[in-house]
Symmetry: C2
């Protein structure tokens, strides 16, 4: 008798077709490319746009809540801030009310960059939604929200 392990091809097809993680990674990559391409003239990636937009608040937020909002690891946020700080678009400064923490805010130049990017996001997103059947976008948002 053979000791060769083997997985039926039908199982492979089942995993491919049903894996929600794979489906999410695929869609995330495709949408990232779409928005990265569109935002390139503004000098931002989709992730940088989302991060900077999340900093446009009445009060500068600490890092933890921003990482949670973006559903990313806190160490990822630390790293993602680096190029934005280097370009002078985001400031990271001590939290006077918690000496462990730091607060984040857009610089005036960062705000200008974000303002320039906003109409690109609007048109790109509108075009994307137009490719989906009526109501699917809102449904998809709710379904995705349930996972993150």
């Amino acid at each position: 008798m053979s000791n060769a392990t083997e997985i039926p091809f039908a199982t492979t097809l089942l995993v491919r077709d049903t894996c929600l993680c794979l489906h999410a990674q695929r869609a995330a990559r495709a949408l990232a490319r779409l928005f990265d391409d569109a935002l390139r003239p503004a000098g931002l990636t989709n992730g940088q746009f989302s991060l900077m937009m999340s900093l446009n608040r009445p009060e500068p937020p600490p890092m933890g809540p921003v990482a949670k909002l973006l559903a990313m690891d806190q160490t990822t946020l630390t790293a993602a801030l680096k190029p934005l700080q280097r370009r002078g678009w985001v400031e990271v400064f001590p939290n006077p009310r918690d000496k462990r923490g730091r607060l984040l805010r857009l610089t005036p130049e960062g705000m200008r960059v974000l303002t320039a990017a906003l109409p690109i996001w609007e048109s790109t997103h509108a075009a994307l939604e137009k490719t989906l059947p009526e109501g699917n976008a809102e449904r998809l948002r709710q379904d995705l929200q349930a996972l993150a």
Copy 2:
């Protein structure tokens, strides 16, 4: 008059709540962590599991179609193969019918690793689906498919 550019906070909230790209990145990150954690004992990440599973075919596939299946850039696939080749789980060999190309196949050891990972995927995915309302998973798969 002020020349300070500014984006209303309400606009920020709108972008956060409606951006399909952000929603997809968030869900993709959360699911990646879920499956990475589950698959860690098998020595695989979610992406490595998907890639290796996609190589379980009757005929070794070229790189291009595999990259397209995973909706990733071809250069990403080249890079993603490196650690799997190093561990001896995947072989990359010349395509006899096209000297530009290369074909991919699991090694016997790679097949063993994948076989060990499969029940972990099954239980993790079943548990995930159970957290979703009846029918939502299938609907979500279809909606995500439309984006990738």
